[in-house]
């Protein structure tokens, strides 16, 4: 096969890689992107998008089940709700497929060449790609490593059989009767909640003393409450020891040191994700590492000239939107623009029920960083719009410096608060003070009024509480 020579080669077509390639194409950089699977990466194929589709379907089904049980005050009743899970999965696959084609189309429009296969560095300027039709050599002036991350396996619970990762959990043939989730982080709880709504008997096993350990108790309280309401059993301080001999139960060691087992049709292991640093020839280029991640500087440059790295392979937070911003930046740097990483805010969203949004510092983190803080918390119970959509659980919380009222962090928990992440991130990125948020008119009746009210509360004069 004839060698390809290009100015920019991107390894991995996840959100970081494909954004990098599209932006580079827009800037008339001769760009090639290599991807072993379909374009879109974890996010589009087995992450953000399909999980949100599944969560939506579960929410819809839970709603009608709720109506059927005559538990709603709205006066709506239905009978015998049913779900054809095969069709649900097919619908989800349809969305993934549409987005696949969309991304491929955008790459094509930007004149980016897509090479399908597995890339491996030969040296810092040359990559070998194993394609279906043989080996393809690509020589590039600049190479971007965007290989992403993969689910972490627990040594005693190797994936296979009834032990599944989030990937398999998004494509099950039937709703498991008994589902055990090992790991009470956001991925496990998002999927565990969805399956509980679809009818599974769900047990969450978390080794630490609380679920969603990165969030404070105030933020997770509405989640815990709702998990209880959904009949999900949450076991904290419990270690997973392996599968039973028959493979139909998870063996655990409880907090008091006693062994036990939990019957399970499927065991979903979601104990985290790890950067993909093998299989693409890291050893050939011998890049400096930062723990298990590839070390990068504020321009996403690795220790080798002309080799960049973006996304999950470069560190936390492993979020698609961080990778996208890095990808865009690297494309512009390759085009000769003067860019460097100076972001103040990367919002993180947890699509549990209700949802959690965080950006910037939590009250505890702000105090640890030496700030004297002012905190304003406004509950959705006092928000008209929240009441009209039965979403009174939760709140918006603003953390600001006591001295100059500079907003340091914003958190919210509540139904649909993921969409508030935009204004939260904007406030932090622009360096807003409490007065800026309080002085911005927020439309009524919306949940966003809670944001303005939280700022007012921190200033000592909230209006609706």
């Amino acid at each position: 096969m004839k060698d390809i020579t290009c100015k920019l080669l991107v390894i991995g077509a996840g959100p970081g890689g494909y954004i990098c390639a599209i932006r580079a194409g827009q800037l008339n950089i001769d760009t090639v992107i290599v991807e072993a699977a379909k374009v879109g990466g974890t996010c589009l194929m087995v992450g953000c998008i399909p999980s949100k589709a599944l969560i939506h379907a579960a929410d819809e089904f839970a709603k009608v089940a709720h109506f059927a049980a005559k538990q709603t005050p709205l006066g709506i009743s239905v009978s015998d709700p049913a779900i054809d899970f095969t069709q649900t999965i097919a619908w989800k696959d349809g969305i993934v497929s549409r987005l696949n084609n969309g991304v491929a189309g955008l790459l094509k429009k930007a004149n980016v060449k897509i090479v399908t296969g597995t890339a491996k560095f030969r040296d810092g300027k040359t990559v070998e790609v194993e394609t279906l039709t043989g080996q393809q050599i690509i020589r590039a002036e600049n190479i971007v490593i965007a290989t992403g991350s993969a689910p972490v396996e627990v040594p005693t619970l190797p994936f296979g059989g009834n032990v599944i990762s989030s990937t398999e959990a998004l494509s099950l043939e039937t709703v498991p009767e008994k589902l055990v989730v090992v790991g009470g982080g956001y991925i496990g709880l998002e999927l565990g909640t969805a399956y509980a709504k679809l009818g599974s008997k769900v047990t969450v096993v978390e080794a630490q003393s609380k679920i969603l350990p990165q969030y404070d108790a105030e933020l997770t309280r509405p989640i815990v409450k709702n998990l209880n309401a959904l009949g999900v059993t949450v076991l904290t301080g419990v270690k997973a020891k392996g599968m039973s001999a028959k493979g139909d139960a998870l063996l655990i060691e409880k907090a008091d040191g006693k062994d036990d087992k939990i019957a399970a049709d499927k065991v979903l292991v979601t104990v985290g994700r790890k950067p993909v640093t093998t299989g693409w020839g890291l050893e050939e280029v011998d890049l400096d590492m930062d723990g298990k991640f590839v070390r990068i500087d504020d321009k996403c440059r690795t220790s080798m000239r002309g080799v960049y790295a973006i996304g999950d392979v470069t560190g936390e937070p492993m979020l698609a939107h961080r990778a996208m911003a890095q990808g865009e930046m690297v494309a512009e740097i390759v085009a000769g623009h003067n860019r460097s990483w100076d972001k103040r805010a990367i919002a993180a969203v947890c699509f549990t029920d209700p949802e959690i949004v965080t950006v910037g510092l939590s009250p505890e983190e702000a105090k640890q960083a030496g700030h004297e803080v002012k905190i304003g918390l406004f509950p959705f119970a006092a928000n008209g719009r929240a009441m009209t959509q039965e979403g009174e659980e939760g709140f918006v919380r603003v953390v600001a410096a006591a001295g100059n009222h500079l907003v340091l962090g914003i958190q919210a928990v509540g139904t649909g608060v993921s969409e508030l992440s935009a204004s939260f991130a904007l406030a932090l990125e622009m360096g807003a003070r409490l007065e800026d948020i309080a002085g911005t008119i927020h439309a009524h009746p919306t949940q966003s009024e809670g944001f303005q009210e939280a700022a007012l509360k921190a200033l000592g004069h909230a209006l609706h509480i």
Partner: protein, 432 residues
């Protein structure tokens, strides 16, 4: 009160756009008729834009370095009496500020804003006082990160400014665009230290206007043309004697003769024998345009940079005529009044730095020409006449040729012909 729109006028034949190189006014300035408002530059000439009316500037249509199409509005003025803008340009920013009917929701929802201030948005948005910026203490506490919006951060980075050195006047010490403006105009505050200290500053200078044109032109010449440079020494003793004699008996209305008019006439003669040297090579079409007329570009240094005014039809000019034209063009170039026509159309170029001419230079061909003649300085050198060293006035010519279309042999023949003519100057004036 009316509004008057000034559009970018047609500044030269075949010119579709011009680069904005200077604003002489800002929003809010009161201007009189004929006052110069701005300068724009085309390929060759810089043109000033005067105000046709009295009025107040309310809008400027571009930034320095921006390339603007001919006919685009570039300035809006508020004038006494009826303007002409409304009919021509409906619904532009200025008009939007006019009192609106009360039933327009957008207007009604706007926070109260005094219409009197509205036409001067830049004025209105300035901080009440820039004084806090002038404090000499550190902009913020140790380890505290500068606070600025993404746009301000990028602008600082593009201009090589470390925001940690910039004081912020905004809320919570936020650095605003105005703070950056102030920082740029004032420069970084440097603490008073010992006489010798390392200077780590990097000044970023935007390459615009004439400098950009020169840069582009030079890059094209050097990247496309394989240069061959040929240096020969010329005994100009006789020529200098003739020149001195002519200058002493010249009429008052005649320009003083330099070496250039002689060289130009010599080139005309040499080109008559070798017309391939007086040509433009279109390397994309693979066509050489060999010109009958000898239009000699004279590279001239101006305060803004290098320009090349052109003596047209040197073959039809006398020695005195050439001298007069060179003087006229040099003055026009130095005062920046040279027209586009005077700055274009050369077919061969002379470059001379006079007494700064050095011993040897490697001239860059004025693309798409094929030859450039470089004049080095005249020096008295001891020359061997066969029996003794005698002092002679010697001058080198360093000349470059496009080796794609001019062979070394032809280049050498050309220079040798010029050498022969200059060393026996009477031959320049002998009709063949």
């Amino acid at each position: 009160m009316g509004e008057y729109v000034i559009k970018l006028p047609d500044v030269g034949e075949g010119v579709a756009e011009a680069e904005l190189v200077e604003w002489n006014v800002k929003v809010g300035d009161l201007v009189r008729e004929d006052m110069v408002l701005a300068a724009v530059m085309t390929d060759k000439a810089t043109v000033e834009i005067p105000s046709p009316v009295d009025g107040e500037i309310i809008w400027l249509g571009g930034e320095i370095g921006e390339v603007i199409p001919i006919g685009s509005p570039i300035i809006r003025l508020k004038i006494e009496g009826e303007g002409h803008a409304v009919a021509v340009e409906p619904a532009k920013p200025v008009k939007a500020e006019a009192p609106a009917p009360a039933d327009k929701p957008v207007e009604a929802a706007k926070p109260e804003r005094k219409p009197a201030l509205a036409p001067k948005p830049q004025e209105a948005s300035k901080p009440a006082s820039a004084k806090p910026v002038f404090n000499t203490s550190a902009p913020r506490g140790e380890g505290e990160k500068p606070l600025a919006s993404p746009a301000v951060r990028q602008r600082a980075r593009d201009n090589g400014v470390d925001l940690r050195q910039v004081s912020g006047t905004g809320p919570a010490g936020r650095i605003t665009h105005e703070d950056l403006d102030g920082f740029f105009s004032r420069g970084a505050q440097k603490p008073g230290v010992a006489a010798l200290s390392p200077d780590n500053s990097v000044k970023e200078i935007k390459v615009v206007g004439l400098r950009r044109k020169i840069a582009e032109k030079m890059a094209i010449a050097k990247s496309r043309i394989p240069h061959i440079t040929y240096v020969e020494e010329i005994d100009v003793t006789s020529l200098e004697e003739l020149r001195a004699a002519l200058n002493t008996k010249k009429r008052p209305d005649q320009a003083k003769l330099t070496i250039l008019p002689f060289l130009m006439r010599a080139m005309v003669k040499a080109i008559a024998d070798q017309p391939q040297l007086n040509a433009l090579y279109d390397d994309e079409a693979n066509i050489i345009h060999q010109h009958g007329g000898v239009h000699i570009g004279i590279a001239a240094q101006t305060p803004g940079g290098l320009v090349v005014p052109v003596v047209k039809h040197a073959e039809a000019r006398t020695l005195w005529d050439c001298a007069a034209e060179v003087n006229l063009l040099a003055d026009a170039a130095k005062t920046g009044t040279a027209t586009r026509e005077q700055l274009s159309g050369s077919t061969i170029t002379i470059t001379s730095l006079g007494s700064m001419g050095g011993v040897v230079t490697t001239p860059v061909i004025n693309h798409p020409e094929v030859a450039i003649i470089g004049v080095n300085k005249i020096m008295i050198r001891p020359m061997w006449d066969g029996t003794a060293f005698i002092p002679r006035k010697m001058m080198n010519l360093s000349s470059s040729f496009d080796h794609r279309v001019i062979d070394g042999w032809d280049a050498a023949v050309f220079i040798q012909r010029i050498k022969a003519l200059l060393e026996t100057p009477a031959m320049i004036f002998v009709e063949d």
